[in-house]
Symmetry: D2
Subunit: 366 residues, 4 copies
């Protein structure tokens, strides 16, 4: 079915396969009046570009975005913004091996089981390239959030067993290190760890974290549309993510209530929490503290080691995957997490405008 | 906004507060022809009833369900099924303390921040009682899945640091032990652990797991409506859940690709996986293995120890929460997880019917 | 599938059959802070009650509404409002004839074709009684619109060939005449016309109109969610409606452009139109003039004359429908049209709050 | 808000303005396995092309469609189909007059009222060009319906006061006559009528009708998602449509029940109706007869006669609209109506697959 749309009011629809002519996204419901041009979007897309270091694939993907509709005289008009990225570097190579066999850890088998056949070139729609559309749309959401005083920032928390030390948090490092870690020392360790993995033809998993600051209290909904529920869906929908944590996440399950509750206090006339185990969300609604989400990402399934699998004919075979693959997904996925978070928060903010009758009446009295 | 609806084709809408007249759910989109009466639903509701052991609240909640519409001559008609549970045991007590202060770990403050005021009696809509509607609807989904050969089973995986040993998995124990653990030995340890916590006026967190077996390969959608993304949302929308894992979950982030990929092999002419690190989902689509989900649940925020907080007037105060509270949420939440999983899987199965043109043409040729 | 929900932000879900235990509606997404009690809703329900004149069915339907959730201390809380009406006057009569045959003009055959069987008592879910839930929800929408200075008013425009003369428009007459016509003279003629039809065991069609005044310009959306498109759906979803017109409606098809365009002029510093052929909507968006909608309603299909039909066994038969039926649907449907219009307009107003970036930033700056 | 998406399972999202770089549509939820290439779509787009006769605008719009994603080896893959049409013939002319004034009958004023400003070139998003995306998507729906034995056919019923005589119904004439009338004699009269209107610088309205044959009984849903309600929305969302009729439409309001009910009879072992006043829909669900819908379309608002209006500065002015405009909208809108009908019916068919439990169990037993 139609599963390529995300959001209720700020709604995006992505399209395109890894090796098709192009891919892109429609942003429908973007408010009118935002100054927007290609450079606003391109800087986000550049963060997921490969080929920028020893630990990403040497594949070249230019990912030049083109705005096809929805802006006029440099501003958004309120109508759908169509963003397109031409696929330029696909090598129309020999896919005969992938075409007939099911790569372990990939979606080859499940797509065939669902649709009866699949576009096997480069993973088709299950390729990480699909996220280019999310990032292009997310760049717009981020720009709007910024103007509302809300910042969203994702980074690599760990790679294999190497963890960033949050005491040394350095925001600049995120965009400057090859691993997107906010800790330059951990980054160095992680790079050599990854190079080792690469030499042994293997790949590595990792954990990424996203921090959203400046979100007012009161955003999100009770019951099914809880802010954390929507964030969980948004982040789990990124390929290769296998776990999502909010605030202290998994740790809460072995804790006492007295250690887990965050006390409320007053600060500068405002209600604040003295700790933030909850990750900024209580009962599905933001509490004014920073929103904290973590995602655990599996190792790249494409490895050069020999693996056991079966082919379409139901024969058991061994395969050695060829091609140029990232030894780790995370450094390029960090911006995807940032964008999916921004899209979720912005949508929740827009939805929240109708929560109180007095606000509605005020709005239309003007 | 409207956030009380879950599902696309099999759609449920819950309503009701902890201390209102009643609560319930509308199930819209249930296929016609299912044999259904109150006992089908009651047996699920009974599993979330409190007062059945030393480790749940002594509060009495009868939770007798009434089918108000949608069945005729014992069968569902395809029209909305309205299920209602009268609230009978609320004590119209003294809520003055709760009314004016913000309990740590609860949604009191965030509701006020969103709506300007709140129904403070027993947590109102943020109460765990809201899940009665989910369970009533989920019971119907479970009955349908059963007829399709799909079983969904949730249980307690750990309480504090006491973990069920899955080598001793005993399905009967889940419904028989007070902790809903599938391991009677761990259950005993957990019960004394909980009694200790209770004596020290504290509460405890835990982890629950859900297993769905019999789901065919090919269910779920690529991109935003991935099966795991929808499960993550479904489970994270249960109050107090702070992390959701699929398959090996958080462990994948410190793993090598060679250890994490599940090999495909043939068995009895069918494609199977030799391991199930993926938890039954690849690229957002089921692969025919068991679906495995885990949820980490925070300790009950209502504890009898003194806590620091603020009141509506912005004064810093201390509170000691009175009332009758579960020292742990999980044993009664396990059936909620089972139901939310069943609802998500059934909806995905119904959506999937239109995935292939040949199936559609076949369907209407009859 | 799930087809019992209407609206995007102000969302209602109706449930219940003609002869089930009860029927009702869940209003999800009602803003917090509205003063609301049963009397607000009851006065709308009373307008669709039968038995109030010689031209409606003598059946008694009390339709006493009960608010089960969503209000606290007399105000809406922002959480789902559950409204229930117990079915009290159903006679558990002999339905054997209806059970096995397909009444002409009714949904008996189509329900069986879709679901395989149906609740045949009194039309089940296809009964006009289903609209009680719409009216209960619409009463809330009307109350909110009123507070925003928007009035919605529906009335009977014609019955058979007897037309209300709009030059004699008398708003009070709508609630006072048995036909709900705004013209007392036409009402008298229509009543004798209806009594004649009743004597010849026949039924009669009619046309109803709805006027919404005070809606600001700029409400509605381009393309698929045009305000008139949503109104058309809302009104066409009322059973027995076979045509929907906006503004001059059908007349435009035989007109010249010079006669159909409405000129813009200034009045008291505001942009106004000198005529309103468009019915208040241009390009799917309100233009500040009155919204005008008309609905053509077929004659009650239940007539006492002998009719040809078939039964479930595929035998050709003749039937004479018994029971107590309205000779015309319209007088009781007028309030349904008013409510569906109000629900559509309110939803469009809430959706519109996020149309401009500057408004969003202003909203959250406060 | 996001209003550019239509459909639940077969979901389309259109984008693009009249004078932007390009316009197009994403079709999400198209079943896998349909043979599809550009020619399938182009033949529908060619039917809305202008410049083909004396009664359409001499503007050239090539409307060459490009499939950018969603097909592989000539077949749809089940993933989003992206269709793009480059805008080639826009003259970057002098829009200063339109930019600052509000043309009567157009959406200029309402867009400004909603969004604060607008893309004034050629009507922007409110231009009839937006329907190119609908037609491109509808062509795919039509191809699928055809394979299911369902045909959808729209044509011009009347232009001004000249009506096609349905006794002379000639299906070939629809695609061959400049007016898209199914009656060649009426077409000739209408052409001279239109030439007259053109000479007097005026424009003319008309009525179009759509017939869908082969739809099985049982499609559509009770209550809000009635098949006729969704058709009404679909058709009313086409710009310039001011009224929608189903079956006998407006005529039912002056009729007796005995004349309006369609009798059921048996024919070749199947239940049929002896007449079709209902237009193929009873209680919102198809009855197996032909679906009949009519749409009344206003005269093109762009006329060359002098008109009174106001400008942005609130000054009363006169304008004479320049440019090249169709004297009538209908002949090019007929294919849009056909496509919107096809999209609505296909979506209803896909949704209907989960109506009965036995069918679901059968489906997955295979």
């Amino acid at each position: 079915m139609a599963g390529s749309t995300f959001g209720t009011i700020f709604k995006i629809t992505t399209w395109g396969e890894s090796h098709g002519k192009a891919l892109g996204v429609i942003v429908d419901g973007c408010p009118a009046g935002l100054l927007l041009d290609e450079t606003d979007i391109q800087k986000y897309l550049n963060r997921r570009k490969p080929g920028t270091s020893s630990i990403t694939t040497p594949r070249k993907e230019d990912d030049q975005v083109e705005i096809l509709s929805g802006t006029f005289e440099g501003k958004t008009t309120g109508t759908p913004i169509s963003l397109m990225i031409r696929n330029t570097s696909q090598i129309s190579g020999d896919y005969s091996e992938i075409a007939s066999c099911y790569r372990p850890g990939h979606a080859d088998y499940t797509y065939d089981a669902k649709y009866g056949f699949r576009d096997y070139r480069g993973g088709g729609r299950s390729s990480g390239r699909e996220t280019a559309g999310r990032v292009a749309a997310g760049a717009i959401a981020c720009k709007i959030l910024e103007q509302m005083g809300i910042t969203v920032c994702a980074y690599t928390r760990s790679i294999g067993n190497i963890h960033a030390d949050m005491k040394h948090f350095d925001r600049d490092a995120i965009l400057q290190t090859p691993t997107a870690m906010p800790d330059r020392k951990a980054d160095e360790l992680a790079v050599s760890y990854l190079e080792g993995a690469k030499k042994s033809f293997n790949s590595v998993g990792g954990c990424m974290e996203c921090l959203a600051e400046g979100l007012p209290a009161g955003i999100g909904d009770p019951v099914f549309e809880k802010l954390d529920a929507n964030l969980a869906k948004a982040i789990m929908s990124i390929g290769a993510v296998k776990a999502v944590e909010i605030g202290d996440g998994c740790q809460v399950s072995s804790r006492f209530g007295s250690d887990n509750n965050d006390a409320f206090r007053m600060k500068d006339g405002k209600i604040v929490k003295t700790t933030n185990h909850a990750g900024g969300i209580l009962g599905g609604i933001s509490d004014g503290s920073a929103i904290i989400i973590r995602a655990h990402v599996k190792p790249t399934p494409s490895i050069y080691l020999s693996q056991q699998t079966v082919n379409k004919q139901g024969e058991e075979i061994s395969i050695n995957i060829k091609g140029r693959h990232d030894p780790i997904i995370i450094p390029r996925a960090v911006v995807v997490m940032e964008c999916m978070t921004a899209l979720t928060l912005l949508d929740a903010l827009l939805i929240n405008m109708s929560a109180r009758l007095e606000n509605i009446i005020d709005f239309y009295r003007k």
